[in-house]
């Protein structure tokens, strides 16, 4: 039997692998597992109480007022996901196509479209908060100046407009990302295929639907999955623009805010409950993990290899 000896090469590999593995285990795997564990206990402040089984899950899903809070936040996340699918990914695809076709000014726009992505979310959030200011905001002032004063709104203060205003800010901020990914995908399409199409038809629509769209499918898989994960983990923009409570009255509440508020409390309104917060975190994690896997598998199957 050969002796198991650490050779120089083996040592070297071990030395390279162990630190990152330990890092991931300590800061990723361990917190996830401990959040799972926390969710099964009753908590008094930060003191762990009795084991309560699935009680916390039951509470956040079926007991009022948590039930309606959970449903409301979840509903808003779904709205955010579909809205951004259109505004961010849909627009991103169109922009990418326009850039790829090298319409006039493409060089400038390639940078302009991507620039907001580089900005910090905090900056974007405060910027748009100023834009939406009911008295001095650019949006309302512009509307008033062009004679559309009746359309001026307290954008972030109404249940009907608040969430959409934040979604618009998010779409503006991140539209450059899917654009870039789609553009990269389009640039990978071999010239021969495009030449072949040109022989057959002049129609842009046929070109997009029959050639470009199927061939950028890998890019679509990436941006769809990332958007899904991002939409259900959404936190920064609504936190700054709507506040921890999803102001006004829960219209901008999303699972991220709701989880944070429940687990860590809210100085100006409520108390913390680690057990319920962990239960929420586990549910959000499971939901995202399962659906994201399904999306990835389904979309992968659709991809075409050239």
């Amino acid at each position: 039997m050969p002796k198991l000896r650490m050779t120089g090469r083996g040592l070297w590999i071990t030395a390279l692998i162990v630190p990152p593995l330990a890092f991931v285990a300590l800061f990723v795997v361990y917190p996830i597992i401990s959040a799972f564990a926390y969710a099964f206990f009753d908590w008094q402040g930060l003191k762990r109480g009795a084991f309560v089984g699935l009680d916390n899950f039951h509470t956040v899903l079926f007991v009022e007022p948590y039930r309606s809070w959970t449903l409301n936040a979840f509903k808003n996340n779904i709205i955010v996901f579909f809205a951004l699918m259109v505004l961010q990914n849909g627009l991103g695809f169109i922009l990418a196509y326009a850039l790829w076709r090298e319409l006039p000014g493409a060089r400038f726009h390639r940078i302009a479209v991507f620039l907001p992505v580089v900005l910090s979310t905090i900056i974007v959030a405060y910027l748009f908060k100023l834009f939406y200011h009911p008295l001095f905001g650019v949006v309302n002032i512009t509307l008033r100046n062009v004679g559309l004063g009746w359309m001026a709104q307290p954008w972030l203060g109404q249940s009907g407009t608040a969430l959409w205003s934040i979604i618009a800010a998010q779409a503006w901020h991140m539209v450059g990302f899917p654009t870039l990914v789609f553009l990269a995908g389009m640039q990978r399409i071999p010239g021969e295929i495009l030449d072949a199409v040109r022989m057959e038809t002049e129609s842009e629509w046929v070109k997009i639907s029959k050639i470009v769209w199927p061939l950028v499918a890998p890019s679509a898989t990436i941006v769809f999955t990332l958007l899904f994960v991002g939409a259900f983990n959404w936190f920064e923009l609504p936190y700054i623009m709507g506040g921890l409570d999803g102001s006004p009255f829960g219209s901008t509440d999303v699972l991220g805010l709701y989880f944070y508020r429940t687990a860590f409390g809210n100085v100006s309104a409520g108390q913390q409950d680690f057990g319920l917060g962990s239960a929420l975190a586990v549910l959000i994690f499971l939901f995202i993990a399962v659906i994201a896997s399904v999306i990835t598998v389904r979309l992968r199957a659709r991809e075409i290899q050239i």
Partner: protein, 413 residues
């Protein structure tokens, strides 16, 4: 992700605190970053009088302070002393047994404190005081004296007076009230800063005695009156106006009044040193009704039950309860100290202290933030609905009463 951050924070905290401590070196934690220099001054005078004990004052970010503190206390790396919040926020830390109960034996000066202040730092389950209360805050109406003078206005005596003077300001092209309600907690401030006198002390007493709930006409009619004033005299689109914008409207002199807390006074002075501030308790229905401000206590100084220098910590807490400290606190930090017998040099503070003579507690914070849904969560969201015209005062009364019944015993049927 969030748990990750907390973990890293806790780990870093643990590393920092693992530094060897001398026998009589105390650490004190606080969320008042802006007060650090002042506290270091107080600590110097304590150290001069108590040789051999040194106190290190460390501050943490305010919104996550409770989490940071309880994480450290749970991990056994907490400070010897800590500023703790009041009411439900105190219970959060105290109920886990992290804080040393204080009594008149260990801190004799407590016997002279206002019972309401002590109640704010008392845990309901065992009736013990867990911290020396440090400051009170008052919710009322702050006004710009120059604007009032220029328009020949005086502090209102009745609700009709208040509406009349707001109308005068509006006619003169001044925004009567600067407040906006896009920031959730501002709804609570506006409701009780304007509505406490309308609600009346009688309602408060009946509520506490279990003889009334929030469907009481005195309470709901106050909400209706507040909403009416907001609709007419708050800035255009106030439901979309956030807290900092509202503060700026007032401090820049664009608005005549601001419904807010005594904590705003120093803030307004900082933003605009020339502003001349006045304040009044929003009036009741008639001039004869008692004018009430809404009063609450900010927090207190607690002692770590597992601290290694408990004796020295108790000594320091005794200093924090002394008139000498209270006076220095009031003079330096321009806050209403809860220590009995403190006098206020600052005329604004003196006025606040005067108004505090007629008060009811800031209701939701003082009594309804002990369970979920808290009264604060409910009133903030419901008032936003009322301002948007999506509910009625009577419906709010119902929602509050049935919502709180989830954990508030007297409302359980």
């Amino acid at each position: 992700m969030k748990t990750n951050l907390i973990r890293i924070g806790a780990a870093l905290g643990a590393v920092l605190l693992a530094a060897p401590t001398m026998a009589q070196e105390l650490t004190m934690w606080s969320w008042r970053q802006e007060d650090k220099a002042a506290y270091e001054g107080f600590i110097k005078s304590f150290e001069a009088a108590n040789p051999g004990i040194t106190v290190k004052f460390e501050t943490f970010e305010a919104t996550n302070y409770n989490t940071i503190l309880s994480t450290a206390l749970a991990g056994g790396t907490g400070p010897d002393l800590a500023m703790v919040r009041a009411y439900g926020g105190l219970e959060n830390v105290a109920s886990a047994g992290y804080l040393e109960p204080l009594s008149t034996e260990t801190v004799p000066a407590l016997s002279g404190f206002n019972p309401a202040a002590l109640a704010a730092e008392t845990m309901r389950s065992d009736g013990k005081v867990y911290a020396v209360p440090f400051a009170s805050q008052t919710q009322f109406v702050i006004y710009n004296k120059a604007i009032f003078d220029a328009n020949g206005l005086e502090e209102p005596q009745s609700w009709a007076d208040l509406e009349a003077l707001a109308q005068k300001l509006k006619d003169a092209g001044v925004i009567p009230f600067a407040n906006g309600t896009a920031t959730a907690w501002q709804n609570e401030t506006v409701t009780f800063g304007l509505g406490s006198s309308l609600m009346t002390k009688g309602f408060y007493e009946d509520l506490m005695a279990g003889k009334a709930d929030f469907t009481d006409e005195r309470f709901t009619s106050a909400l209706g009156a507040v909403a009416e004033v907001a609709a007419q005299y708050f800035p255009d689109g106030f439901i979309g106006l956030d807290y900092p914008s509202a503060q700026q409207l007032f401090s820049s002199g664009m608005a005549g009044m601001f419904v807010g807390g005594s904590y705003e006074l120093a803030n307004f002075k900082n933003q605009n040193p020339d502003i001349e501030l006045g304040m009044f308790a929003a009036p009741g229905k008639t001039a004869e009704d008692e004018k009430l401000v809404a009063l609450y206590f900010d927090g207190g100084y607690g002692v770590n039950a597992a601290g290694s220098n408990k004796e020295a910590a108790i000594k320091f807490v005794n200093y924090l309860a002394s008139p000498e400290f209270g006076q220095a606190f009031a003079n330096t930090l321009n806050n209403i100290s809860t220590v009995p017998g403190v006098t206020f040099d600052n005329p604004l503070l003196a006025e606040v202290a005067e108004l505090n003579q007629h008060s009811i507690p800031y209701l939701m914070l003082a009594h309804f933030r002990y369970g979920e849904p808290s009264g604060s969560v409910l009133i903030q969201g419901e008032m936003q609905k009322l301002f948007a015209g999506e509910t009625t005062p009577e419906a709010i009364g119902e929602t509050l009463t049935t919502g709180l019944a989830a954990w508030y015993e007297p409302f359980k049927k």
